[in-house]
Symmetry: C2
Subunit: 201 residues, 2 copies
Amino acid sequence: MRKIDPDLHHRRRLQILEAAAICFIRRGFHQSSMQEICSQAKMSPGALYRYFESKSQIIEAIAEEDRSETKHFLDEIQQHDSFIEGFMQAVKSRITQSLKEDYARLAVEVLAEVTRNPKIAKRFIANDKQMKTSLVQMLKTAIKNGTVNPTIKPDAVAELLIATIEGIEGRAILNPNFKFRSVAPALEEMISQFLRPDRPA
Amino acid sequence: MRKIDPDLHHRRRLQILEAAAICFIRRGFHQSSMQEICSQAKMSPGALYRYFESKSQIIEAIAEEDRSETKHFLDEIQQHDSFIEGFMQAVKSRITQSLKEDYARLAVEVLAEVTRNPKIAKRFIANDKQMKTSLVQMLKTAIKNGTVNPTIKPDAVAELLIATIEGIEGRAILNPNFKFRSVAPALEEMISQFLRPDRPA
C-alpha cells in the first residue's frame, strides 16, 4: 500500500482550495468548472479528484476552513484577561488576514451560494451561530468579572460586534483604497467606549 | 405619436426591476436570463425590451436605485439638528427597508458582479464614495457645531459607520432569525457613546 505523507496531503489540499478561491473570485462559483480549478492548481484532474470529487466538496472544505478560523478567532480573545483587549486583538489579526487573502471577494461568492444552497447554508449558519453563542458567553463572563459594562445586552452586542467585523471585511469591495489600519483606532475607541465597565450612563 | 404615461412607465420599470431582483436572488446574475425576467415580470420580451435591452442595463438601473437611496439616506440625516440623532433615524429607515426587501441577498449578487465587471463596479464605487464624502463633511460640520466629539477623525469614522451599517444589513444572510429591532438600541448606545461631544477621553 502506498504511504500517505500527511504534510504533502495537507499542502496539496490547500493548493487546491487556493486555486478554487481564485477561480470563484474570477468567474463566480457556478461559472467555474473543475477543469479550470485543475489548470489553476496546476494539477491533473485525476490528482485533483483524489482530494475533491466536486465543487460542492470544495465549498464544504471552505466552510470547514471558516469553522476553524472562527475557532481561532474565539481562542485568541480568550488569551486575554480583558474581553475588550482580547476582542480588539482578535479582530486585528482576523481582518489583516482577510484583507491579505482577498477574503471579501470569496465571501461574496460563498454568501451568494449560501442564499441558494441549503446544504451549504447549514454549514456557514452553524459557524455563525458558534461565533455568536461564544461571544455571548464571553460577554456574560466579562460582565461578571467586571471588565465589561453590566448594562449592555450580551445577545444584541454579540450580534452588533459580528456585524461590525463583517462590515469592515466587506469594505475592500466598494472602497478600493480601504486600509484597515486607517479605521482600527476609531474601531478600538468605539468598542472600548461602549463596553468599558466605568462609562457614564 | 403614442403618448407616454409617465406614471405607467415608472411603475412598469419598477415591476421589471423587482422581477429581476427575484431572479438574481434565486439563481444568480449570470444564471438568470432575460427570458426568465420576462416570465417573472409577466411581460412579453417585446414589452420588456422597451425598458431594458440587456441584463447590464438592469444592473445599471439597480445602481441608479442605489444612488437615489444613498441620497435619500444622506438627506434624512440632515433633517436633524444633531448628527447622532439624524444618523440613527436614517439608519433605522434604511435598514428596516433593506430587510423588508431582501436587499442583502440582492446586494450579494450585485457585489459579486462588482468584483468582476469594471463598468458596474464604477457605478457602485461612485455611490459609495458619495456616501463617504458626505458623511465626512457632515461630521466636520457637527464637530464645528459642537454636536460631535472633536477628537474623532471624520474620515476613519465615516468609513467605520458605513461598515457598521453594511454589516448589519448583511446579517440577515447568516442569521435567519435576525431582527434589526433587537440590535437597534445597542447600536444607538454604541454610536452615541462614541460620538457624543462630552464623553470622557
